[in-house]
Amino acid sequence: MTNAVTVSFPAQTQYVSLARTMAAAMAVRADLPIDQLEDLRLAVDEAAAQVVLDAVPGSDVQCVFIESHGSLRIEVRGTTASGVVPATNTFSWTVLTALVDNVTASVNAGEVCLTLHVKRHEPVDA
């Protein structure tokens, strides 16, 4: 079973905290240990900030959180002004890859999507 939650907000930095808060709430649902939870919060913050900074003014950013069996997939989507796929040799990318298990970036028809995957590292007794 999967559960998806979507948050949509104006592409402005002051809204990024919404994505961060939602990330933490979803991490609780996925029963992530708090160090992974805090990492995820930072990662979503970073990803959302990245998308916001390159967003077409006036556009919206969507964060889709998909939870299934102790793992989370988060898609951060926005309309890209540069049309360029985020580079992987930046500090921002280094931060993202360190914080989550897997991260990919793509651009399709003017929409950038950063996808973050995180899986509970250690088994947690129910």
Partner: protein, 264 residues
């Protein structure tokens, strides 16, 4: 604009005489070599002379929950940077020039430090128990506990735990440098590694000076987390602080780095 009263308020003696002195000092800054004693003395006197202006501006912000002395301190940073950037040739009154910079520093301080909502009493009371439970469980489980586990231990809801954690990570950053469990020298000296992986980072040119500006401990934690791929818990153990503390320092350092990288 000359009709605007630009004298530092609170000092009635700020008359023609002082204005002339200000001009003299600014002339010294414009002409004397930067490393000369004369330059340093003039700069110093200008700073002292305009402190009432900083106080005046800081007072306007003092009812917003931040420590007044801190506001004066960041305002003074604005004053000093105004003195250093002032171009006498542009014919502006110095205080007209300095005021927006001082206000800017104070506002920036609010943005940086007080994204924190004041913690409701209920959450404040939960902070201690959540912290203790987190530390205990980390020891017992040999891993970072989940929110649910902490909630069970404390006997509160997972939502409350999350709120405490969240408030914690935004909690007034200024206390982090002096909250007792600090062992700055020790941390810095035990971690001698040389920036692994940094060469590949495109931003290294701009990142390096920003990293250098971070307090030593935050810089080390950034390096450990992102370039040595240590977990927050591992860092906590090595540095001798709590994982929650590591998390707060990371969040703050990243915010500072990002602000710096996107500033231009």
């Amino acid at each position: 604009m000359s009709s605007v009263d630009t004298s530092p308020p609170g000092d009635e003696r700020w008359g023609d005489e002082q204005r002339a002195r200000e001009r003299e000092l600014l002339d010294v800054l414009a002409s004397a070599p930067e490393e000369s004693a004369e330059f340093a003395a003039a700069r110093e006197e200008l700073i002292t002379m305009h402190l009432p202006l900083v106080h005046h501006i800081a007072r306007r912000y003092r009812d917003r929950g931040e420590n007044y002395d801190d506001l004066v301190q960041v305002g003074t940073i604005g004053l000093i940077s105004s003195i250093d950037r002032f171009d006498i040739g542009r014919g502006l009154e110095f205080s007209t020039f300095a005021t927006p910079t001082i206000v800017g520093e104070i506002k920036r301080h609010f943005r940086d430090r007080t994204t924190t909502i004041r913690l409701p009493r209920r959450l404040q009371e939960l902070r201690g128990p959540v912290y203790v439970a987190t530390e205990d469980l980390t020891g017992e489980l040999h891993r970072s506990p989940t929110v649910r586990e902490i909630a069970d231990r404390v006997g509160i809801s997972p939502e409350d735990v999350l709120e405490v954690l969240e408030a914690q990570s935004a909690y007034s950053a200024k206390s982090l440098d002096d909250d007792g469990d600090d062992d700055r020298g020790g941390v810095a000296s035990t971690l001698g590694f040389e920036d692994p992986g940094m060469e590949e980072i495109e931003y290294r040119e701009s990142l390096r000076p920003l990293l250098d500006k971070l307090p030593e401990r935050e810089r080390q934690i950034i390096m450990m987390r992102f370039f040595k791929n240590m977990s927050q818990s591992e860092i906590a153990e090595q540095v001798g602080i709590s994982q929650m503390h590591v998390s707060r320092l990371l969040a703050r350092a990243l915010a500072e780095l990002r602000a710096g990288l996107t500033a231009d």
